[in-house]
């Protein structure tokens, strides 16, 4: 990778912050023991204390109690655990689940697995900006509904849902609510002591923390099935030797997120979007204001996204697209299709996601490069000329 590389795919993975690595390092080389009870040996007790501190620090940021937070191997595991754990635990009460069409794959594919097991799933549509309609959600709830899973913000188009309103509605109907907050936590506010959500997926991977460490918030009293069999780790819900360096790194990464940094990302996002929308025949994907501070996503007509990303890569920019040709399954973005967009809009979509290591002008430079590339690809396209 050359020095001039500009990384704008921070909603896929992020560069680790050195301060996170520094916080983690002693737990690889010095305090590497497993967490033991207070009757164990010194190294193990120290490891346990470190894990407890990381848990307490993360819980405080969410407004949760430490014992309500279970560490996992990341967002995918947390969402699998939340959706399947709650559905299985409550299957005697009912077998109906509700989610949205634009959820990320861990939730969506967990729902599909549960359908094959005999659950019934309602997939809510959204409006053209990606917002779930509260009335539609209300109508979807039946006496047999046991779980609603609606993300707090979208991975691709950035739209942020009205979580407090969704939570109030579910609470009123006595239905459990899972929130996938992978992309919003802790950059957007979520306080579980005020908002009645029952399960929350969080992860450190998108905020310059280590890969392979996330957590699931489980509100005290939530009926839940044990997720992994083995030892009695994580309150006997998720067995497996604790990833203590990961937990420390995750907590440190969250600690380093500041409102000032988030405001800087939002400014970069707004400048970039304004420049991209100046390109003719372009369209914003997602909500104009209710969106992740780090996310810009725009579709360009008459051109295909894989060709765009490849041209961007040759100019040193890493961006992503909802085009089928970019996807491992060769399928167009289910998010763009889910908000009512057509295949052409999905194929011509480009996502830029910002992070701590972007300079303020990175978005502008990317927009300049995109302007030129789109011009060039339109020149050879059979579309848009008549």
């Amino acid at each position: 990778m050359s020095d001039s590389h500009i990384y704008l795919d921070n909603s896929a993975a992020t560069r680790l912050d050195e301060r996170v690595l520094e916080a983690m390092t002693p737990y690889f080389f010095d305090t590497y023991a497993v967490a033991t009870s207070q009757f164990g040996y010194t190294l193990g007790v120290e490891a346990k204390d470190a894990l407890d501190n990381a848990r307490a620090s993360l819980a405080a940021r969410l407004g949760a109690k430490p014992e309500e937070l279970v560490f996992t191997s990341g967002a995918t595991e947390s969402s699998n655990m939340a959706v399947k754990g709650a559905a299985h635990a409550l299957s005697k009460k009912g077998k109906h689940l509700v989610t949205s069409k634009i959820e990320d794959f861990p939730v969506l594919n967990s729902m599909r697995t549960l359908e094959r097991e005999g659950f019934e799933v309602t997939y809510l549509s959204t409006d053209a900006t990606g917002l779930v309609d509260l009335d539609e959600l209300r109508h979807a709830l039946t006496p047999g509904t046991v779980l609603v899973s609606i993300q707090s913000a979208n991975q691709e188009i950035g739209t942020a849902q009205d979580t407090p309103a969704i939570a109030a509605l579910c609470h009123e109907h006595g239905v459990l609510l899972h929130i996938d907050a992978t992309h919003s936590f802790p950059r957007m506010p979520l306080d579980v002591s005020k908002t009645p959500v029952d399960l929350v997926t969080i992860s450190g991977e998108m905020i310059h923390g280590p890969k392979g460490c996330g957590a699931l918030y489980i509100r005290t009293g939530t009926t839940f099935t044990k997720w992994m069999d083995g030892g009695f780790q994580e309150f006997n819900l998720r067995a497996g030797t604790e990833n203590i360096p990961g937990a420390i790194g995750f907590a440190k990464a969250v600690e380093l997120i500041t409102p000032a940094e988030t405001a800087g990302l939002a400014a970069m996002r707004d400048n970039t979007i304004a420049r991209l929308l100046a390109i003719p025949n372009s369209q914003l994907n997602g909500h104009p204001t209710l969106r992740l501070p780090q996310n810009a996503n725009v579709s360009f007509r008459f051109v295909e996204g894989e060709a765009i990303t490849l041209h961007m890569d040759m100019r040193g920019f890493a961006v992503s697209t909802g085009s089928a040709c970019f996807s491992r399954a060769l399928e167009a973005s289910h998010v763009i299709l889910g908000i009512g967009g057509n295949h052409e809009r999905a194929h011509g979509s480009v996502r830029l996601s910002f992070g701590r290591y972007n300079a303020p002008e990175d978005g502008i430079r990317a927009a300049e490069a995109l302007t030129e590339i789109i011009d060039r690809l339109r020149a050879i396209s059979p579309l848009g000329k008549d």
């Binding site: 295909e304 060709a307 041209h311 295949h343 052409e344 020149a379």
Partner: protein, 212 residues
């Protein structure tokens, strides 16, 4: 560069040959659609005496493989007779590009189909084409040879993914040997439908997935 494309693919992608339109072409064809994510337009100028291609241009709405294949195949076709140009296969185009990643072969097939469709357009206009061909089992199988199995980059006939084909009163029912939740099931369904649904005597196409 750690990209999965050969240097030749990258060269043709960045600087495609024979790009653009021919005004008042002797023949033209468009294959694919914005919905399927790839679309190619091919324009031909043909010498009526020798029936050879004197000029050819293409336009692409598509990914790098599609653009590069459009570029190489127009290079290959120019100067050839229509009969010779018809024989150009996607495999030859792919080989001439130094190979394409398996998952990208369907994009190169589209460019080849575009060339063949343009030739067919010329033949139809000049009374060189045969009568409208009924869609028989053989026609379906021939067209299915242009649907790729993205996992390996070979067609679904050769990789034995087609379990059965039934044709009755214009209704085609195809069963693919694959789990319904296979990563590529959606893509294969789309590609098959695209290859068959527009044929003149086809009413509907259904694609089912059953793993044996």
């Amino acid at each position: 560069m750690p990209l999965p494309y050969s240097e030749l693919v990258m060269e043709h992608f960045q600087h495609p040959h024979n790009v653009g339109r021919i005004e008042n072409p002797d023949a033209k064809a468009i294959e694919g659609s914005p919905a399927c994510g790839d679309m190619v337009a091919v324009y031909l100028q043909v010498d009526p005496n020798t029936l050879s291609i004197t000029d050819i241009k293409f336009e692409s709405y598509g990914c790098a493989s599609n653009i590069a294949t459009g570029s190489i195949i127009t290079d290959m076709a120019i100067g050839k007779t229509l009969e010779e140009a018809k024989q150009i296969t996607w495999k030859q185009a792919s080989d001439a590009l130094g190979g394409l990643p398996p998952i990208k072969t369907h994009c190169s097939v589209l460019a080849v189909d575009g060339l063949r469709a343009a030739i067919q357009n010329y033949e139809e206009k000049h009374g060189l084409a045969a009568e409208k061909e009924p869609t028989t089992l053989e026609v379906v199988q021939r067209r299915l040879k242009h649907v790729m199995n993205p996992a390996v980059g070979l067609d679904i006939i050769r990789t034995k993914l087609v379990k059965s084909v039934d044709i009755a009163d214009g209704v085609i029912r195809i069963v693919i040997d694959m789990e319904p939740d296979n990563q590529f099931a959606g893509n294969i369904r789309e590609e098959i439908t695209e290859k068959l649904a527009h044929l003149w005597d086809v009413v509907s196409v259904s694609v089912e997935f059953e793993s044996s």
